[in-house]
Symmetry: C2
Subunit: 245 residues, 2 copies
Amino acid sequence: MAREAKNSGSPRKAGPVSRPAAHSSEAVDDYLKAIFWLSGPEERRVASNEIAAYLRITTASVTNMLQKLAAARPPLVSYQKHHGVQLADPGKLRAREIVRHHRLVETFLHDVLGYAWDEVHQEAERLEHFISEKFEERIAAKMGNPQFDPHGHAIPALDGSMPQVEQMTVHQLPVRQRARVVSVSDKDPEMLRYLAAQGIGPGTLLTVMEYLPFAGPYRVRIGRNKSEVLLSLPLTQAVYVAPAE
Amino acid sequence: MAREAKNSGSPRKAGPVSRPAAHSSEAVDDYLKAIFWLSGPEERRVASNEIAAYLRITTASVTNMLQKLAAARPPLVSYQKHHGVQLADPGKLRAREIVRHHRLVETFLHDVLGYAWDEVHQEAERLEHFISEKFEERIAAKMGNPQFDPHGHAIPALDGSMPQVEQMTVHQLPVRQRARVVSVSDKDPEMLRYLAAQGIGPGTLLTVMEYLPFAGPYRVRIGRNKSEVLLSLPLTQAVYVAPAE
DNA sequence: GGCAGAAATTAGTTATACCTAATATTATGA
DNA sequence: TCATAATATTAGGTATAACTAATTTCTGCC
Ligand SMILES: [Mn+2]
Ligand SMILES: [Mn+2]
Ligand SMILES: [Mn+2]
Ligand SMILES: [Mn+2]
């Protein structure tokens, strides 16, 4: 992908390209997404450090890319040497668009193509960069513009807006406080398979009955008062819930 | 995409990668496809020249890449300096796999997502490189393992085999010889829209009534003896037919 | 057989995006 | 306050895959 530099004359592929704006590269997309997640809802500055760990690359590479993102016109990030970055508006918009792509694709793979919920993340992680606006629009339409992906994550709207859902992890949930599962981390397929086997997914009602000292496990009642399961600390941190009235 | 070179230590993305073989790059895929098409059914050697024109890049770039493809282990092409290339078996297999991806994706976009037949090629041209084997398998299954794409092109089987259909262009069709449209070139969206408007697509019965000297136009009867249309030389070369019994 | 022109290759450059190693800056705690 | 540890930046290098310009090889024709 070393084209479109000085090469305004002849695009490498034939056919009229409808997309007007120059698309950001996969690498740029991934940095924007990383900053988006790491900066959190309060949109705090993110250290090169954190980005490097998140993307599993060196801090030198990160510094390099941050300088490019800041030098882009319009700038995608606001960058201050030695003091981290923040997404500028264009960068934030692009990050949210990629998140929309990711979650729509996940939902599509799950609902339309019958993928298991632990299989969708990996494929979406790649495809999110390469689908067109038309593809996005068509799969969204086919599924009736879904609001949530298979893991319970909210799908950003076309304008980038994302409903902020009030939520905490099971780890943070007080004992005996009944709660409903909002979403589950999609990063670890094994964890997802295990949770599914325990009957835990978005919508599941649960109550922490007891947590044992020194990092659990947690004894959790599923549903009204049916079964009980034991969840390790990592599992309780991967399940997000909202207290039920 | 400058990873996976000396970088055996830490893959850039988290998560266990199920794909075992190192995937070829988009550029490599495109070269293999170009050689595949240019060498034709008789699999003749292809000149750097032709590849450069087909991919709209310089011959220097082509020479460079051909040397890499030949140096790969196992070699993807058989290359002799100044005497063009031929696909080696691994290259041929990969080329056919990409063609399978392309045509399955086109069919999926058309049949499942409701794309018009002039819109599918561009999107498939990109996605063919990035879908997984699972995605391929799932869309194929969802559509009942289709044999042909929306333009009438045969979809290679999983083992790479492609039925060789007997066909000629309308340009080559003798006058008054009734024929059935097998396939239509998918490269030019405008042409596809025009042909669709004339009622011409895979399966259409037609007869050349007359061709006027000096590059046409051709007077062509559509169906049994309903309407007649005029087709320019480029159009008659874009429509492939098989004589009807 | 030799020569001109076409085709291909080599050489050197650019851009992206990674890397390691060396250096600089910032933050902390004695 | 100031030395040291943690962070970040710079400098220099690699690989991919394009480019232009210079050079070489091949081919067809006289
Ligand atoms: Mn989009
Ligand atoms: Mn998800
Ligand atoms: Mn495949
Ligand atoms: Mn086609």
